[in-house]
């Protein structure tokens, strides 16, 4: 989900850029040199995974996985997502320079929020961890939709119907993202639990 170039007002674009700079700054500060390779490769993973389309009825939606990236990287999700968006702009022209800030906030802020809300549930028993994982997936998409909505509404009140449509379109994605995140975390818990926050000493 990207806001295209040329739609938002200057003020909204500037606030998005400012927030993205702050988030990326914090993320980079916490990213020591020996975790750059890890963040870069996980960011590549996020890029590839977000191209996957899963069927829903006659149509299909693409998964986002920003919540998962948040769980795996903490604050470093900000620069990782910024970098993935730069590459998407260069490859596909989804988003561009002026919307880079807003789009980074749209994806990364929910990732970081979900990280802090749910990181302590991840090493609990599945009865706690799996509902939390569902919440990570669903909430990250919902929050992204809400930020998109806010950006549109703050640009132009006439965008109300568009905003409603955008958020409405996110509801099925939320549910599917929640389900997929739930399975994904269950798998990670069995196979590689130290990737999830809680067990390792996190620097998020």
């Amino acid at each position: 989900m990207h806001i295209s170039e040329g739609i938002l007002s200057g003020a909204v674009l500037a606030s998005g850029a400012a927030l993205a700079v702050v988030g990326t700054g914090i993320g980079l500060k916490r990213l020591d040199a020996d975790r750059i390779a890890r963040s870069g490769i996980l960011s590549a993973c996020f890029f590839v995974a977000s191209l996957i389309h899963v069927p829903i009825g006659p149509s299909s939606v693409h998964l986002i996985f920003n919540g998962v990236l948040g769980l795996l990287l903490g604050w470093a999700a900000f620069p990782a997502i910024l970098v993935a968006l730069i590459l998407q702009a260069v490859f596909f022209q989804f988003g561009g320079i002026t919307t880079l800030g807003v789009n980074t906030v749209v994806m990364a802020l929910p990732a970081v929020i979900c990280y802090f809300l749910f990181k302590n549930f991840m090493d609990k028993s599945p009865a706690w961890a799996l509902p939390a994982a569902f919440a990570v997936g669903a909430l990250s998409v919902l929050l992204s939709g809400i930020i998109v909505g806010l950006a549109l509404m703050m640009t132009e009140e006439k965008f109300f119907e568009v905003t409603a449509l955008v958020i409405g379109a996110h509801i099925p994605v939320m549910i599917i993202e929640g389900i997929v995140t739930c399975f994904l975390v269950a798998f990670l818990k069995k196979v590689q639990p130290d990737m999830l926050p809680g067990r390792r000493k996190t620097s998020g």
Partner: protein, 253 residues
């Protein structure tokens, strides 16, 4: 997924990446905050001229534009019927409002002008040279490293994903709307993340072995040629003209 526009030898392909990043940013920002149709018209013209200089395949550009305009189409569907104003024409009983149509048209022109200029200026550089340019524009080292590493492993991870997907298909996996499908994709992505983390450890060790000290070295030289200066002047002038048309009162307003 490939950098299809980065291949070529036009004058824009050879331009200094720093100049391209700065010019594309200035142009995008000016167009993004412009509202007058006259200024936007000049911006579209400028973008088309740049594209002509870049000598890119038209079919590929058209394909990209279609994808990019998905979001914009939403506005064409909704704004003409939702924005209050004077009816301009009717489709059956539904009046289409002039104000809504104008707003949708303005967004579309802006969006496409920026995208076209971005293709001509930024997508004609390889990610590696853009990264080098960003580094020389004093963007944080770590951010540039992250960009270059992500780019380096993007294709590796994508191949890995294709391989896993093929293995699933060979075992009879057909994506449908059911839990089994979602579970399969979840496990697929989970294993992708796990392998990526394991790979990251190996990459990290290999980088340390080769004496990585937090710097990437580039053999590419970044020197402004007279040609770069000419382009810089021309692009600066063009951005200034769009700004003047937008903000100065005149016969065009």
């Amino acid at each position: 997924m490939r950098e299809e526009f980065a291949i070529g030898d036009s004058s824009l392909h050879r331009l200094d990446p720093r100049l391209k990043i700065v010019a594309a940013s200035a142009l995008s920002i000016v167009v993004a905050v412009s509202t007058r149709f006259s200024a936007l018209g000049v911006a579209v013209g400028l973008a088309l001229i740049l594209l002509a200089f870049a000598r890119l395949p038209c079919g590929a550009i058209a394909r990209h534009l279609v994808m990019v305009n998905g979001f914009v189409i939403l506005f064409w569907i909704i704004l003409p019927v939702s924005v209050p104003g004077t009816p301009w024409m009717h489709i059956g009983p539904i009046p289409l409002m002039r104000e809504g149509l104008e707003l949708a048209a303005r967004l579309t022109i802006k969006s496409n002008a920026i995208v076209l200029a971005f293709i001509a200026l930024v997508s004609t550089s390889s990610v590696v040279s853009l990264g080098g340019g960003m580094n020389r524009l004093r963007l944080p080292d770590k951010l540039v490293h992250l960009l270059l590493l992500t780019y380096r492993y993007l294709f590796v991870i994508q191949e890995e994903y294709e391989r896993l997907k093929r293995a699933a298909v060979v075992r009879g996996f057909v994506p449908k709307t059911n839990l089994h499908t979602y579970r399969t994709y979840a496990f697929l992505v989970a294993i992708l993340f796990i392998r990526a983390a394991a790979r990251a450890n190996r990459v990290q060790q290999a980088m340390l072995c080769r004496g990585f000290q937090g710097r990437f070295y580039s053999l590419q030289e970044y020197a402004f040629t007279p040609k770069d200066w000419m382009w810089a002047a021309g692009l600066g002038l063009a951005v200034a003209i769009i700004g003047i048309i937008e903000w100065m009162p005149g016969p065009w307003s």
